[in-house]
């Protein structure tokens, strides 16, 4: 993956498949400690301990179309090669939380990229799921909730192209207003 934002989109798709009704995505940057924290939490069906243990194995997958599952192994590798951490917590029936930290001062840190584009795709392609996105740069913070937008739209679908275009710009502008984020962005 060329951007961490693509890993975020990919890992969140697992929450979609798990039947989540709500997905929380946090992207928190601390410029003092050079730590970037990415958290994806859902209220989907969750997994038992044994399944969670097998996730980092690329040759484990629940899909039937092929025998490999690269999503989680790629995300884990992206975090750990910066000297960061990776954790999956899950409980059957309760949901799953994936937390990865990245050392942004590592030369091996993949650029964060366009997270807002991922959030927009996720929210508009999955009308039935409430997406709560928190983006923070040190003490500055922007919180987006797709449920609020849906309430305002009053039945007009989120995947209506003119709505998607509005949303994409709305997210980008609000994230940009947080100021300089990760260097090189």
């Amino acid at each position: 993956m060329r951007e961490l934002s693509l890993n975020i989109l990919d890992v969140a798709q697992n929450s979609v498949s798990a039947g989540a009704t709500r997905i929380e995505i946090d992207v928190l940057e601390n410029t003092g400690t050079h730590i970037l924290t990415v958290r994806i939490a859902d209220d989907g069906r969750g997994m038992d301990e044994q399944t969670v243990r097998r996730l980092p194995d690329p040759f484990f997958t629940t899909r039937t179309t092929r025998k490999v599952g690269m999503g989680i192994p790629l995300f884990k590798m992206a975090a750990e090669m910066t000297g960061g951490t990776f954790l999956i917590e899950s409980e059957p029936g309760r949901g799953t939380t994936v937390t990865a930290t990245f050392r942004t001062d590592s030369v091996d840190c993949t650029p964060l990229g366009d997270v807002e584009s991922s959030i927009c795709a996720l929210a508009t392609m999955n009308e039935q799921i409430d997406i709560v996105y928190t983006r923070a740069a040190d003490e500055r913070k922007f919180v987006f909730s797709s449920a609020e937008i849906k309430a305002m739209l009053d039945g007009v679908p989120l995947n209506e192209p003119s709505v998607m275009t509005w949303l994409s710009e709305y997210l980008k502008e609000n994230a940009a207003a947080l100021g300089d984020l990760q260097p090189g962005e």
């Binding site: 993956m1 989109l9 990919d10 798709q13 179309t65 007009v156 209506e160 192209p161 994409s168």
Partner: protein, 124 residues
Amino acid sequence: MKSVEELLAIKNKVKGQMNVRSENGEDNIRVLVGMATCGIAAGARPVLNALVEEVAKRNLSNVYIAQTGCIGVCQYEPIVEIVEPGKEKVTYCKMTPEKAIRVVTDHIVNGKPVAEYTIGAVAK
């Protein structure tokens, strides 16, 4: 800065058009973008964005864009499928934002599938 008022204006405009169309209408065209790990890694997100922008720009009210999973031919991602009622599904592969725009103009607007981007032409 994008305002909530703008969103409400879009809502009212779309609501006005909604009477003349429905999700299961007979002339609806469905555009499916593969968004599994393989599709995302290959560049499905910019393709999706390009499709959305072009459809919005042209105000094509009978086009529905949705995501789909992995269809099992990861080497040909990003994949876009066009499903029109009464016609055979067309599968485009190795898509880019530029190709996506041409698919909207040639195929969706003018009804002429872009043969050279289809899986049949690319997978020879």
